[in-house]
Symmetry: C2
Subunit: 248 residues, 2 copies
DNA sequence: CGCGCCATTGACAGGTGTCAAGAAACGTGG
DNA sequence: CCACGTTTCTTGACACCTGTCAATGGCGCG
């Protein structure tokens, strides 16, 4: 791995196609984080916007009962930490050694955006992309069955893992992280993965390296077309869920 | 209700404090929607950005198995339909009669933002607010128990219902909508509400009008501090969930 | 080598989805 | 205004899923 962060930043920025933020890179401050190290914490002021260059991180919240929720996983290329007023509602921690993150001083970046409409558009599109991704996650999280959620999660990670060998997903997070991300128990995550392996939809090459053997099976599961195999959805589902109606 | 939409728009725009979008109101096109009417549909091109002025709407997606997921409920004041390229991934429908929505032609709005940094900032902050709200929802959706999710939902609706009598929430959506929003069965939603009523945390003044009798009880439930009452969390929970760790 | 954390599997109880039935609310047309 | 059909909401019964608790094995690390 390259030891000069700025070189990595430049290389990465050059890889971006639709993000005309290159002029903002002059503000960039690169930092390297160890495993578990905090990028920012709850209640910190919003001083920077961030982009992750290498490694992985998680956005998490602790609730009153001591349980933890993972709001998002951050992978190379993601912009995060948007906001203008108030303080951070969540904290962000690296989950991979030598995670590389660049940060842009918020006020300077905003002034830059005021001056350069291209920058403003770039930030806007990044925010819109975040919204789109969160909405997709919403659909995954709202699925009722564990298999559906885990399948959707694997597909999401596969789609986000660019540059990786095709049909292979590396999961930088622990099973506990996945469980807190999907809102289920660790054991259920483990069982769901085993079930997917049994069905030959995936294979585990190492604990955190998943090979997708049958993507369409995974997609069917994520879409709720489960049951024993490639059967069409039961007729009763259509009668039992007459929900495409208006209310009031 | 006022029959002249533009008057409502002006009045509403004047109510906004931190949204310097008033200059964008010259682009506004107001439309009135009947119950169940579509504001836009899946695969429509992204031609407009929207703001809901009165009434309510839902953003929803249909999955392959015929089930429906509600990505978001839209209440007066919300901006929605952000995006620049591609087509709409979800559809938006009014769920209240005489819902009033204004739309801004996207290209014109973007040009306006290019020209006026204040407009650009306003749009950016609206997008950031959307992200913050989606992230809060993520935490609610990731809760495992039905009572927790329904309690969180009620609190969310209470926080968003400004202008309503305090401690009273009007739910413009059906139970089916709530179920598809929270990712659970309608019957479970109904049972959770009954349970909350039994515990005297809420009272139902009409089917869709909820009075919050004990907000702290509701908050405790939403935070997972459930069990029989105000008891401290069981010691086993802290041992059983040693998740605040780093991975790898 | 021993220790702690992670991952998996099993047993079991409680929660939730499914199916079914009935009540209540709403819109419609007479 | 009332009767009617439709939709929505609630409640019950039951099976299955998932959370909880427990034990085991693997892996990295000191």
């Amino acid at each position: 791995m390259d030891t000069t962060p700025s070189a990595q930043v430049r290389k990465f920025a050059a890889r971006l196609t639709s993000q005309p933020l290159s002029a903002m890179e002059s503000l960039a401050i690169a930092t390297r984080y160890e495993n578990g190290e905090a990028v920012y914490r709850c209640n910190d002021p919003v001083e920077y916007w961030y982009r992750i260059v290498a490694g992985a991180a998680r956005t998490s919240a602790l609730t009153a009962d001591g349980s933890r929720h993972i709001v998002d996983f951050l992978l190379p290329g993601d912009l995060f930490g948007f906001g203008t007023r108030g303080t951070r509602p969540y904290c962000v921690e690296a989950i991979v050694p030598a995670t590389l993150i660049v940060r842009y001083p918020r006020r300077s970046a905003e002034q830059l955006a005021d001056f350069d409409p291209k920058i403003a558009r770039g930030i806007r599109e990044a925010a819109f992309d975040s919204i789109a991704r969160l909405q997709r996650r919403m659909v995954i999280l709202a699925r009722t069955s564990a298999l559906e959620r885990v399948s959707g999660f694997l597909l999401e990670m596969a789609d986000r893992s660019r540059g990786a060998p095709p049909h292979t997903v590396f999961l930088p997070m622990s099973r506990y992280d996945i469980a807190d991300y999907l809102g289920m128990a660790v054991e259920t995550v483990s069982r769901a993965l085993t079930e997917l392996r049994t069905r030959c939809a995936i294979a585990l090459r190492g604990v955190r390296r998943v090979q997708i053997c049958d993507r369409s099976a995974l997609e069917d599961l994520a879409d709720g077309l489960a049951e024993t195999g490639a059967l069409p959805p039961r007729e009763t589902r259509w009668n039992g869920a007459p929900r495409a109606r208006s209310s009031i």
